[in-house]
Symmetry: C2
Subunit: 220 residues, 2 copies
Amino acid sequence: MQKSRPKAITAAEFKLQKDSADIAPVPVLERSAAQRKVLDAALKLFSDVGYFNTSIPDIVRASKVSTGSIYHHFGDKTGIASALFEQITGDLQAALDDIEIAHITTGGRCRAIIELMFEITERSPATMEFMLYAKHKEFLPAHAPICSSAPMTRMRDFVALGIERGEIRVIDPTIAAALIYGPAIRLLQLRLDGIIERPLFELLDELWDSSWRSLRAKAG
Amino acid sequence: MQKSRPKAITAAEFKLQKDSADIAPVPVLERSAAQRKVLDAALKLFSDVGYFNTSIPDIVRASKVSTGSIYHHFGDKTGIASALFEQITGDLQAALDDIEIAHITTGGRCRAIIELMFEITERSPATMEFMLYAKHKEFLPAHAPICSSAPMTRMRDFVALGIERGEIRVIDPTIAAALIYGPAIRLLQLRLDGIIERPLFELLDELWDSSWRSLRAKAG
DNA sequence: TATTATAGAACGAATGTTCATTCTAGAAAT
DNA sequence: ATTTCTAGAATGAACATTCGTTCTATAATA
């Protein structure tokens, strides 16, 4: 059901895709240096003090890009958040593509997804914070909630496929997905909040053994 | 380590408690009708459109309490959020007290906690949203993050005790807590986001069987 | 009991600030 | 030479908060 990530496409192809309803009209993400500076500064500020506590003058100061340029590139303040959202979910989609190719088994895929989430959390906490905590509906009314974003549904699809294939025992797929990803997400939230002080990688093996044990089919 | 909830106490007793450092100086929560109207309206607005999209005039309109009265009772806008936070965590503490008394086993306690979270989600989604999603650090800089709030640490303590008692197999307590509560919290988020359309209660048994299976000690 | 004093609560118009956005003009790029 | 980009001052609306006042109810006084 899920199409693979669109690669670089021409304008004509893009238009074509827009007409067929099942492909999200995500344009190719090519950012100028100024755009990147703005997005970097905004991500950091949004994560540190929150979207609503971040003013455009703050972003101007932090990014060293002028007000006029920011509005030229992003239209308005929500445009910045929107661009960040698309950047991050796009990157995530790409990473999920790689995982789908690199791992055949459901167990391998799910473990790799958890590893990916841990890695993003450690390497760029602000990115993970933006994905998890940003109340997108508060400043991105146009976007669907993060839970129903492409990467999230993709993660659930992997689990559902695992049940079909008999790799996961028969169980409500929603519950199965929650059992697999829920504990990992919980740990990563605790890590972001500073409750967990060790790098998440140190917890991965023990977490995975327990999570997967409760779900894999007996006759594996 | 954890003291039980303070019952109604006299002023003298309260002062005494304040001097001993290990009891939080939470005053008895007695709210006037006006205060309750404000808190009800604010909770609904905060949950519907977010704290920063809610103006004081909005709260005045919704609660039918005047600007002046609101400032008289709550000091400033963060005071409203703060009062909500204390109300909700206080109620939660009380419910956890009841659970601790009503259930002896760790399994029973954890299951009851999940049931409680589900029940709050169904009965008052706004309350659960405020607890989960409210980026408290953005508008309640004085409060610790929700993860390290009293009810959350309490929930972890139950799990840690279960390991000591041998009811849960030997495993990192942080991971154990994530395995128990993580999936439930995940489901409840999906329910709040409208992804799950059935009442959570219908998922409880299947969820619990799987969660607990991965954690209970072999020699139960 | 009748009158006055006091204090807390309620009110909402007025204030001053912040902030997103616009505007005008000039610099680069194509 | 036309379009794209950059710049930052100017604008105006929205907002949290303040303040002077009025209401209500209980307490003090006579």
